[in-house]
């Protein structure tokens, strides 16, 4: 099986700072890759370069057989990569349903004629989308699925995380990028969220996930492989148990003894 995502010597510089330093990385289809490393080691930068928010300073990204190194964020989304953000980026004044629909942009019709004149067809599409969104949200939290017309700003942090994950999932991406979904949640809440994500992964089959996470128990439980970054460089790679024993990793996390 060929890898879904493969990066070759991917580099990103901010002035003199090398945030990503010739990173080589591969993710197999249908697997969950954990991306770990101390603060400032380049994990989120990797997501931002991958999704086109920052252009790469060097190197290549291949996705599903095509080169995507220089694509804009809009194009990256369209070929099937969706993400969540470390700091929640929901549109708080909008309803939960509206937020989910932002994530499903590529499956909605946006021409003026359809939206202004063909109101019946529009209402039908809204109805279909509403049912689909409710079904997805129900996997995560059934009561939340009944509150889709409430503003996203009025729900607690854990529900916002769920909505954010659903916003990324609803367009049925091939690759899901989760940037520290546990931020602001308790240990149990995080585990539940992860279990729900795995449930969805099994349902839609071909979903591949890259997960940035500081909670090592989460990494241990759900990832099949880990990549450890430090100062933008890959310092270790392999199953969690193996990586956790690595001397370099211990040093990066705990400092020199």
């Amino acid at each position: 099986m060929t890898a879904l995502l493969s990066c070759r010597a991917l580099t990103r510089r901010f002035g003199g700072l090398v945030a990503l330093d010739r990173l080589d990385l591969e993710v197999e289809r249908g697997t969950v890759l954990g991306l770990i490393g101390p603060n400032g080691s380049g994990k989120t930068t990797f997501f931002n370069v991958l999704t086109g928010i920052f252009p790469a300073s060097g190197g290549e990204i291949g996705f599903d057989g095509a080169a995507i190194t220089d694509l804009a964020p809009q194009q990256v989304y369209r070929i099937g990569i969706a993400r969540t953000f470390q700091r929640s980026r929901l549109c708080l004044p909008l309803s939960i349903f509206d937020n989910l629909m932002v994530g499903n942009h590529r499956h909605l019709r946006h021409d003026l004629w359809f939206n202004l004149v063909r109101r019946k067809a529009l209402r039908r599409q809204i109805g279909e989308q509403f049912a689909a969104a409710r079904e997805l949200l129900r996997i995560f939290d059934p009561p939340l699925a009944e509150r889709m017309l409430e503003p996203a700003g009025r729900i607690p942090m854990i529900d916002r995380r769920r909505v954010e994950v659903c916003r990324a999932l609803i367009s049925r991406p091939k690759l899901l990028l989760l940037d520290e979904p546990s931020a602001g949640m308790t240990h149990d809440e995080t585990l539940r969220l992860m279990d729900d994500i795995l449930k969805v992964q099994q349902q839609i089959g071909s979903l591949t996930i890259i997960l940035i996470e500081h909670e090592m128990s989460v990494i241990e439980r759900i990832t099949s492989r880990c990549v450890v970054l430090n100062y933008g460089k890959k310092i270790a790679e392999g199953a969690y148990a193996q990586v956790a024993q690595d001397a370099q990793v211990k040093q990066a996390y705990l400092g020199l003894e």
Binding site: P73, R89, S95, F97, D98, M101, V102, H105, N115
Partner: protein
Amino acid sequence: MKAAAVAAVATAFAWLLLRAESQTSISLLLLLAVAAGVAAARLRFRLSGPSVLAFAAVAVLALLLREDDFSLLLLTRILIVVVACLGLNVQFGYAGVVNFAGASFFGVGGYTAAILAPRLPHLLVLLLGGAAAALVGSILILPVLRTRGHYAALVTIAFALLFRTFLEVNDTLGGPQGLKLPELVIGPFHFNDPVFDASFYLRYVALGLVLAALALGVVQRLERSWIGVALDAVRLDEIAAASFGLSIARWKIAAFTIGNFITGVAGALSAFMIGFIAPNNYAFSESLILVSILLLGGIGNPWGLALASAIVIVLPEKLQTIQEYRFLIFAAVVILILLFRPAGLLPRPLRRLKT
């Protein structure tokens, strides 16, 4: 039922206010309105009903005032300003593109009407006024897209100042003296002929109502559609929107163009009604008034800006004491609103796409 009662009371109130002559009775009526507004806010009074009621109320009001030229003129001015602000609302309220040159696009519509009116059917001229404003806007949008926040606002301010100077020095556009327009004729209707014994302004009120209804229909449909969701997402978080495939530039251009078209049509109708236009009508201060109407009424809520338009136009005409200080007072009111009620008099309600 509740909505119909409110519409009837509002019509009666507007009639009393527009007919009132003495400063004492006007002041009393205004105090009454403020008290009613405060009470409604305290009781969390929510009103919903068909938009038709509001238009019917204005039509009834116009018929009640059928011989009162001045009041009908005010009514038409309000309707035209409502249309212009609906255009700005698409830009500012939905897509978050600030436009401090609203009066300039209003002016592009007006000048287009003045130039084309002798040559083309007037209904077409109204539409072309909007098209011209949209076209001019597509040039201004280029620098606006390259800037953010305050700087984008500055670009539009610069344009507003340039536009007026351009009009003043341009001889083919009449320079500082401006241009005259012929009588508005649409089909069999000659707009400057009296309607039986009643004022000829009744026709303008009717046309204003039609335009306001059309503009409101477009804006409300826009808001309650996938386009509305996309525009809101662009305004609230450009990074998140881009990450989900929304082209920021495309949506800002769309909102700017649609908004300028609507504002331009309003400008064309205004020019026909006044019959004469000059650069002074389109000064930067007029743009500020349009923006302050949005802030006062509640950004994103068409009904809020309708209420604010009525307040901003009627108050200085009826209360002569504030006439001279109106800019001062508006500025103070806008600051107070931003401090104490940032969402405006009638905040925009949550969109519920599925009912």
